[in-house]
């Protein structure tokens, strides 16, 4: 949605610029009425472009609530289970019996998945 708005804004800006150039050509060719109409159309296209691309409302929530997961691993068989983090979890906390082999399980990691991914430009540099 945001990228569609950006493309529309860019197209309208380009149209505004083209109309402005046409208006200038009109002035030099003594078509003053046509030039004025083109100039007004150019202003409208630029204003519309600004209206479309301006940020609407807050960019994102001010306090980000992350989805945090807890990974449980069986020390004996290596069976892994990922569940939602619950208060009191901590890494290396014993987490009961393994449902597969009955061995001891540990919380081996607590993490959030999402994060800023590097852009293709950043990766190429």
């Amino acid at each position: 949605m945001a990228s569609a708005r950006a493309i529309a804004g860019l197209a309208l800006s380009a149209l505004g610029l083209a109309l402005l150039i046409a208006a200038l050509v009109g002035v030099f060719m003594d078509h003053e009425d046509l030039a004025m109409a083109l100039f007004v159309a150019s202003l409208c296209a630029t204003a519309l472009s600004w209206l479309i691309t301006r940020p609407r409302g807050p960019a994102g929530p001010l306090i980000r609530a992350f989805t945090v997961s807890t990974e449980l691993t069986c020390v004996s068989c290596g069976f892994k289970e990922i569940r939602e983090f619950s208060k009191g979890d901590y890494i290396l906390k014993p987490a009961g019996k393994c449902p597969r082999c009955g061995g001891e399980r540990l919380i081996t990691s607590i993490f959030r998945e999402e994060g800023e991914k590097p852009t293709s430009e950043e990766e190429s540099l």
């Binding site: 306090i63 009191g88 901590y90 906390k93 998945e113």
Partner: protein, 375 residues
């Protein structure tokens, strides 16, 4: 008959002359307008932008305060004065020691920081009487994040109002240029609120996590305040692994612990610090690098203690650092960071094989906040 131009007729007369005059007047008028009011327009636009950020910071500060009050009430403090106490806490300050005569300033600073920490913990215990020791430390971290948001809001508001009062382009321009970085820090502190409320491991704890994985399953003892040590066999070396005692939000006293260990053990061949470091834009989160020096962040007290001793004892000090962004340091740990733990352990082993021999005594220190990390 062909019209003959009068020899007295000027090239610009009548309509042409009025048009030119009008154009010149318009150009001169615009130039005068932008010369007189251009800076004011610029200031107005910058102030508008700064005001929007001040409003966002205010919302973040208020949200931090609300989350802190809610968290404290969860632990049995239903009194109406909790909000009042939190407000008082948010305005807390510590005055740095005088450094005109710098001799002994580190110890004065340490004393001030110790008293500050104790005061904060006591205050939290009073506000949340049902909280366990781990929860008290987490709540203290939560209040510290809320305090940082309050300070950011107040400082930005101060310069915004000062810029508005004085109409100084330079004050406003400096503030506006710094705003992206200030807002980044503020968003990081805001993201830290929920992590501290729930006791989730944060990016800064990666050093402590490396130490925890190394010492897991080995008996450990408390060495100095909030700091533990375990003796571990690592590739034939006798490694003394140090970290803050988890899983509460603690950083311990890693410098003091190293000093104590070197004094007790005597012949230590190497000290390796494992810590998180801020990455530059374009670098990868979780990248592991190694170098030389005492990798302990913060106000510098703990770093100073180790540096003082290693000058005398000539023990070489190495650092293994894991890169992360400032916003990742105080928000819940990312998977990319967790994956770097094994890389960091491998790097420690490689370093040990290069600089020590089998049977040597080494100290490995996991530096950072150990919230949500056991041992």
């Amino acid at each position: 008959m062909m019209p003959v131009a009068s020899p007295l007729q000027l090239p610009l007369q009548g309509d042409n002359f009025s048009n030119l005059l009008l154009s010149v007047l318009l150009i001169l008028g615009s130039m005068a307008f932008f010369t007189l009011f251009g800076q004011r327009i610029q200031i107005w636009m910058m102030l508008r932008q700064v005001r929007s950020s001040v409003n966002k910071l205010k919302l973040m500060r208020d949200e931090g305060r609300r989350i802190a009050i809610e968290a404290l009430r969860e632990f049995g403090s239903q009194e109406s004065d909790v909000a009042e106490k939190v407000d008082r806490f948010l305005e807390h300050f510590a005055i740095e020691p005088e450094s005109m005569d710098p001799v002994g300033v580190v110890w004065k600073l340490e004393r001030i920081l110790d008293v500050r920490e104790q005061r904060f913990l006591d205050e939290v215990r009073r506000m949340a009487p049902k909280a366990s020791d781990v929860e008290v430390h987490n709540l203290e971290g939560l209040l510290e994040a809320a305090l940082a948001l309050n300070v950011l809001y107040k400082v930005v508001r101060h310069y915004y109002l000062l810029g508005r009062k004085t109409s100084s382009l330079f004050i406003i321009a400096q503030l506006q240029m710094l705003l992206p970085l200030i807002m980044k820090s503020a968003r990081a502190y805001a993201g830290a609120l929920m992590a501290f409320k729930d006791g989730q491991p944060i990016g800064d704890g990666i050093g402590a996590l490396v130490a925890a994985k190394l010492m897991h399953g080995h008996p450990f003892k408390r060495l100095v305040k909030d700091t533990i040590v375990a003796e571990v066999d690592l590739d034939g070396r006798k490694a003394y692994v140090v970290k803050a005692e988890g899983p509460g939000a603690m950083v311990g006293k890693p410098g003091e612990a190293v000093v104590k260990l070197i004094e007790e053990l005597g012949d230590v061949k190497a000290v390796i610090f494992v810590d998180a470091t801020l990455k530059l834009e374009g670098e990868r989160t979780g990248e592991v690098v190694d170098g030389i020096g005492v990798a302990i962040g913060g106000p510098g007290v703990e770093k100073f203690k180790v540096e003082e001793l290693t000058v005398k004892t000539k023990v070489p000090v190495y650092a293994v650092l894991i890169k992360e962004d400032v916003s990742e340091a105080i928000t819940p740990m990312r998977k990319a960071l967790l994956r770097s733990v094994d890389d960091a352990i491998e790097r420690i082993k490689m370093l040990l094989s290069e600089v020590t021999g089998e049977g040597d005594k080494v100290i490995i220190v996991g530096v950072g906040n150990t919230m949500g990390i056991g041992q």
